[in-house]
Symmetry: C3
Subunit: 340 residues, 3 copies
């Protein structure tokens, strides 16, 4: 595990390690051309770009140890995601799996954020044409006390537990510590001089996330609830049905409640409905949704997409989207998505 | 591609991924001792240090999907290159290859910068003894609107196209978008208060790079042209000949034109000539070049190097160099270069 | 080594590289629950977390080329270690090994810091329950002129030499250059306005580290000496004995001398004694130590730990520790340690 007494024994360690092959290197490289209203043509992404390292060790008696480390990056500039996020923005978790389910420690997407993708017509990709980031979760952020620019659907310093599937049911739970993560001050119900959460504040309550999923033949359903480090709450429900083998219909409804930190208009509601239609190697995606923040203008988004599989690992895609709020943004993209 | 409905299915994904081995991990670790006039003895590098991940997927019918991600780092301090460059400074590209050639999206070296290495006696390594960075390209930078300290021979946000080789001919083309990359203000033909390019400016024209190479038995030739995001232009020509199997002679000429951003003395011309001579496991490198900036003192550099191959992947080297401009710098280095 | 004339030849390189498998990906993911006096329950680590890349190439005639690159990270937040350290904080070294021993260039732990772990009851892990960082080395830092927050047991810009083992004896030596690494100003024996070491200063003497180890059946011994870039010195001695196959006793004594940079109370002495007791798949760790800084309050630490091996690569652990100085800190942790 550590060096032996004699550093030259390193070579033995080198030799032994070569035989062991416990790490799988995997990832995604997705890049395309993007045009948005009033911005220059750009190279961008549709999906998150990942370079990951993972492994499973069989401990015997049905027990397994597992780890996963996932770098996120921007292929157009070669930087880590958003040029400032953690190296292993995707996830960094270690844990055990057995008859009891799976328990992991570290950082990763919360139970709610993880489970809802299957009910979103773009399957959770961050493309402007997708709905996940903004509409599907009613603009909610899982991680408001981390540094600005950090992602909004993860817990740091958390324990992740997933039950086995039982007759189609499965429960997910994520609980975070109150540890401070170095975020900026948040005014909240305080004032600029006396913010409700000062810079680098600890959580005022343990953040947690719960989701329950149920699957029965062509039907699937989701119920989920989450509370973040500043006690903003969200609950979400989703359902999907395969009306025929080629056609999946799906919808979500979610409601965000910021009453702990917002004095006015704490509620935001959102719904999204969509369809995936498979045609040979192609797949058509369609979705429509609305977000209704209390006391602010409603957001309406309609999107249409097409994926064409060149193989099981590689597809090309085209997306168009129209998003209306105070201003309106039209979005077009074409690109290639490659898993490795 | 994404999680299934149930997170516990992760384990299935783990298992499957282990069988798939689509990623090659590769790289270079080059470190040596360096002594320059008036600086302390240092540990440094001769070549760029890389840790990369790449793969090719056969899509059938001669079509291939390919990706490449390349970390650049400094082995003497363990940091990413220059302690500030993007994580995947080397490149981050995804694309397709077929009968039409190769098309890629992302970030990487431009057509000119990529093609000219074969005509430079140190084959493009960034050692002070080499000529690439400064003399071979007449001090030109491909990327003036990126953050300070960034490298000068890449395009971010670009499309890269390479034709197949046809009777010894091959064309390379790189076209970038006008996207802003967060660089500092550039005074140019403006003033300090009203710089020609403000901080974080977009390109004033699409940057592009073109190169054509031709190979015929012992002869090879290059012609290339590039224009960057602030419309500085460079054209370059190169040629090489294997006068005998052990001896390669080569030369380049290049001319940089900054007339879009420099009111005075926009022209810089440079030429480099050199030779590589193979002797068993050893190789002798020699080069001489001059750079002539309009209205500024000429730069003259002479270098001599020796590489001794311990294997196909590992060699030791020694370089000496003498560079004269307003002041003169003598440079000595010895080190080891290991590919993995 | 570099691109051929024609970039499309890249694909050939891709193909060839796939066959070559010279890189071992390895690492450690350790995460657990931590509770300290007067701090909130936290997710933390016991050991350093690593993701590494290493390889050995056989050059024939007993000569080998070797490289090692090691990322360090925090699994609870996904960042690089301390959120600011070099990407390859663990090490970045390349070298040759043969009958003469092993010589490497780059950055890594010094001879003293590397050799002393085998004489520390927690084997050098950075857990609060361990003694390495603070008591075992009497609070000494190997790298005072690097950026603040950098680790204290490495040399950047160094040459590492290890002899072969000869009749149980082995020597390690590390020598650094005087290169500046961009650290903050250190007042030392100067004043705030005229610090002894200005920001970004070079070393005032070459830092070096020497250690000698001896192993004979159940006995092992260590003697070591090191001087850092600001001429702080440390010498350390250690010994261990396997009194029975299950029980290892060990102790270290060290003395730090800051007389080059501290006008008052330059001496710090420390000793640590401990035991490891193996019980089937379990191991009990116990240790006690004191650090005595001249003119400051003594530090006393007592720790107890337990590891239970689930496999050769995975164990769970529990540690408790009580550290008394001006204030007293009690520490508890449980977690899982997984090597891959």
């Amino acid at each position: 595990m550590k060096q032996t007494l004699l550093a030259i024994a390193l070579l033995g360690a080198f030799g032994a390690a070569t035989a062991q092959s416990s790490v799988t290197v995997y990832g995604t490289l997705d890049a395309g051309l993007i045009k948005k209203t009033d911005t220059t043509l750009a190279i961008g992404k549709r999906d998150n770009n990942k370079l990951g390292f993972k492994g499973v060790e069989d401990l015997g008696n049905g027990l397994k140890a597992l780890f996963q480390l996932e770098i996120r990056y921007e292929p157009d500039t070669g930087t880590v995601e958003s040029n400032s996020r953690p190296l292993f923005q995707g996830q960094s978790r270690v844990g055990l799996q057995g008859g009891f389910g799976m328990v992991r420690l570290g950082r990763g997407t919360t139970a709610l954020m993880d489970s809802i993708d299957a009910f979103e017509p773009w399957n959770g990709v961050p493309s402007v044409a997708g709905f996940k980031t903004d509409l599907t979760v009613a603009g909610y952020s899982s991680d408001p006390l981390s540094p600005a620019g950090n992602s909004g659907n993860r817990f740091s310093n958390a324990l992740f537990y997933t039950t086995p599937e039982m007759a189609g049911f499965q429960l997910n739970a994520t609980v975070g510590t109150k540890e401070a993560n170095g975020g900026p001050a948040l005014t909240g119900r305080g004032t600029a001089l006396a913010p409700q959460y000062s810079a680098g504040a600890e959580a005022s309550a343990n953040p947690f996330s719960l989701s329950a999923t149920y699957k029965n033949g062509p039907f699937a359903a989701l119920g989920a609830y989450e509370r973040n480090a500043i006690e903003t709450k969200i609950w979400a429900a989703g359902g999907s049905i395969m009306v025929m083998p080629e056609l999946k219909l799906m919808a979500t409804y979610s409601r965000q409640d910021r009453d702990h930190s917002a004095a006015l208009n704490p509620q935001t509601k959102a719904w999204v409905a969509g369809a995936n239609y498979t045609m040979g190697s192609g797949k058509l995606l369609a979705g429509y949704g609305q977000k209704s923040p209390d006391g602010a203008v409603k957001v309406k988004e309609a999107s249409l997409g097409y994926e064409y599989n060149l193989s099981k690992r590689t597809y090309v895609y085209a997306d168009v989207s129209d998003k209306k709020a105070a201003t309106s943004v039209k979005f077009y993209s074409v690109g290639v998505h490659h898993n490795f």
